[in-house]
């Protein structure tokens, strides 16, 4: 059993928090994992990606080879497209539909979403709307984690326990919003 996931987005969108939750859930589930991430200059509003590898057997490479990714999980639609060549035939793309426009030549969003839907399987959610509904627009990353949850090889209880551990210290309201964000993401994926 293995699952390779490209996590994508823009610096500051909380990609590393998604990775943190998956890492800890994988540890709780007794899986091997390696998760390569980007630090330093790229975090300043640049494209950010993380290679997340989960497996019941030992893992060699920190990076996912092209054609091995089972999933692209992106907080930004254009960023999801950047890693298509990593996706295996039959792989799934889970992404937000909300563009992050901090570059002058951002393409037409309809064309971006049309390209996303060309993936073998895709789940596109309005993470911004759902995060607001959950109580904080900052929880878009957790909405997307919720949207991906049904396709992950991780136990949902392990994901929820880590979300709890991650946000409990930031107050009951923040924790509540993130748990709700997860639920709303999950529901949206079922309806997608």
């Amino acid at each position: 059993m293995k699952q390779d996931i490209i996590l994508a987005g823009v610096g500051g969108q909380g990609i590393l928090s998604i990775a943190y939750v998956i890492d800890n859930a994988a540890l709780a589930d007794g899986l091997f994992f390696k998760q390569a991430e980007v630090h330093g200059m790229a975090q300043r509003g640049g494209a950010v990606q993380s290679h997340m590898r989960l497996s019941s057997d030992a893992i060699w490479s920190d990076l996912i080879p092209k054609g091995e990714a089972d999933m692209i999980l992106s907080v930004e639609p254009l960023e999801a497209l950047r890693y298509f060549e990593y996706l295996r035939p039959g792989g799934i793309v889970v992404t937000s539909l909300t563009p992050y426009r901090n570059i002058p030549d951002y393409p037409d969003i309809d064309r971006v979403l049309e390209a996303v839907r060309k993936a073998p399987r895709s789940v596109v959610v309005d993470s911004e709307k759902l995060a607001r509904e959950a109580g904080t627009v900052k929880a878009q990353n957790i909405v997307l984690l919720g949207a991906a949850a049904g396709s992950l090889i991780l136990k949902e209880a392990s994901l929820l326990a880590t979300i709890d551990a991650l946000f409990r210290g930031r107050g009951a309201a923040v924790l509540e919003a993130n748990l709700k964000a997860f639920e709303l993401g999950k529901k949206a994926a079922l309806g997608a």
């Binding site: 091997f32 998760q35 991430e37 330093g40 920190d62 295996r88 570059i103 393409p107």
Partner: protein
């Protein structure tokens, strides 16, 4: 025994702590910063050892060497180019030797994710003629860091650990072991540590004498693994560090592996290399960074009757980071089937200054002030503000190394360029900007230095800065800059016109001026609020 999720950098840090570390020193730099971030956090919790962000890498090295001379176990860490800054004490510490175990961690950045070059620290290992480790995964990073202190004390020499970005910034569980306590204080060997020629000659001879023992130690290290395939002698693989992972990844699902040697320590385990090469017709060398092993193997004349493949032969690109895909191709395996690229042209999303960044306001004022000086040059330095070289600012024309902008500005001014400016952050100024300013102040050089004081080391995540606020102004004055030409501005849109005026006035003054642009990094302000 327990499992902890650690970055490769953190695995080294924890390995050092569990080896009885007494003191760690560093200057921030990607991809090494997280080693000291972790040590500072742990030291704050346990109070069991000292962990300090130093003023620069040379100082960090000397602080660690001092702790080692006092008999304690010490660590110094930096990014690869930080070793250039620390090269003087580094090279000489191979001659003095270490007392308490001394681990030097140098993190290379193949592919230049966040660096000015992709120099390979293994050349420094060979240059200084010391022992070194190159881990391929997190567990090795932890285990090697622990062992490195014993090895350092065994040889009486500093030991280096070569990291690369990919492992430094990857997370995985690590199995930890029972910690060892710290060393007792122990001073001593004055004649070894005082490098007068008479002592240095004796010590250098001793260092050379030790080389065969280090090679033997490398040959016996369980971290180096030789596996021969008796039925297929066509190809053998020598792979080091993350290159070994990519080799194993590419061979996944194959019934048999070619003969291979996993190299994890330097000097090279010579007998193992000979055994592998003797066994096969062709050798493929897989290493992230420069073709360090490949070049040694090949020498000037190659190996009679053998083919050596690697970066020099064209089997891999000479520049950039290795990847599983590149290695797969070099091993002659077909690419995996994959989804096609979307076909939509994707513009890049480069890093940029944050919304509300004080540097942006300084650059806007600077550009305006320089409008009527077409022959000007703005030398810049290393930090977030290097992004001022990109649109929409296009405000600076150089980025070479830490502190270079001040010395370079003086050189340009000395040969007649006007106006000449230097733009440097407060932490970089403390790192290496003060000494060149001392010379420029003595000569009253016709140049204008702008110190961007955002009160932190921002680019690497907000480490402390030693030259900020009032202290910074006193340093500038103390260096000898005339008080009336030390000006301060607050880079905010509302002060735009005023700031242009200040910059213009100091450009027109044909001597040395320093303008300090004071406003806190917006990331730090945000952190304090949350």
């Amino acid at each position: 025994m327990s499992h902890q999720i650690l970055l490769g950098d953190e695995a080294i840090a924890l390995g050092a702590v569990h080896a009885g570390l007494s003191a760690g020193y560093s200057y921030p730099g990607t991809p090494a910063s997280e080693i000291m971030e972790y040590l500072v956090r742990l030291a704050g919790e346990t109070k069991a050892f000292t962990a300090v962000w130093s003023v620069n890498e040379k100082v960090a090295y000397e602080e660690a060497l001092g702790a080692s001379f006092a008999g304690k176990r010490a660590l110094v860490s930096f990014k690869h180019v930080g070793l250039n800054v620390a090269a003087d004490p580094f090279m000489n510490s191979a001659v003095t030797g270490a007392n308490g175990g001394l681990l030097v961690v140098s993190a290379d950045d193949p592919g230049m994710h966040s660096s000015q070059n992709e120099q390979d620290s293994r050349y420094y290992v060979q240059f200084a003629q010391i022992f070194a480790y190159e881990p391929s995964d997190h567990q090795e990073a932890y285990d090697m860091a622990r062992e490195a202190f014993d090895v350092s004390e065994r040889f009486g020499l500093p030991v280096l650990m070569r990291m690369v970005t990919r492992l430094a910034h990857s997370r995985s569980p690590v199995q930890t072991r029972e910690p060892r306590g710290p060393n007792e204080l122990k001073t001593g060997a004055a004649k070894d540590w005082t490098l007068l020629p008479v002592n240095a000659r004796r010590r250098f001879a001793l260092l050379l004498d030790r080389q065969p023992e280090m090679v033997r130690f490398s040959e016996e290290s369980p971290f180096n693994v030789l596996k021969l395939n008796e039925s297929d002698r066509s190809l053998g693989v020598i792979a080091s560090g993350v290159g070994y992972n990519y080799f194993r990844e590419a061979m996944k699902g194959e019934a048999a592996l070619p003969s291979f040697l996993k190299v994890s320590t330097y000097p090279l385990p010579e007998s193992l290399v000979r055994e592998l090469v003797g066994h096969v017709d062709a050798v493929l060398v897989i290493e992230d960074g420069y073709p360090f092993i490949e070049r040694q193997l090949k020498g000037l004349f190659g190996i009679a009757g053998k083919t050596v493949l690697g970066k020099l032969s064209g089997a891999f690109p000479v520049t950039g980071e290795l990847s599983p895909d590149i290695v797969r191709r070099a091993l002659g395996r077909d690419p995996l089937p994959a989804v096609a690229a979307s076909g939509l042209p994707l513009s890049g999303r480069p890093p940029q200054l944050c919304v509300g960044c004080p540097h942006a306001d300084t650059f806007k004022a600077l550009n305006k002030a320089l409008e009527n000086y077409p022959g000007s040059n703005v030398f810049s330095d290393i930090g977030c503000y290097t992004l001022g070289a990109l649109p929409p600012y296009n405000a600076v024309q150089t980025c070479v190394c830490m502190g270079a902008s001040v010395g370079m500005a003086r050189g340009a001014s000395d040969v007649g360029l006007h106006p000449v400016l230097s733009v440097i952050g407060d932490s970089t100024f403390a790192h290496s900007g003060i000494t060149p300013l001392l010379g420029a102040a003595f000569a009253n050089t016709d140049m204008t230095v702008i110190v961007l004081d955002n009160a932190t080391t921002a680019m690497t995540g907000g480490q402390p800065s030693y030259g900020t606020g009032e202290r910074l102004l006193r340093i500038i004055e103390g260096v000898g800059v005339a008080k009336e030409h030390i000006r301060t501005i607050e880079p905010l849109p509302k002060n735009h016109e005023k700031n242009i005026q200040v910059i213009k006035e100091e450009i027109d003054y044909r001597g040395l001026s320093v303008i300090v642009a004071i406003r806190e990094c917006v990331q730090e302000t945000r952190k304090k609020r949350s």
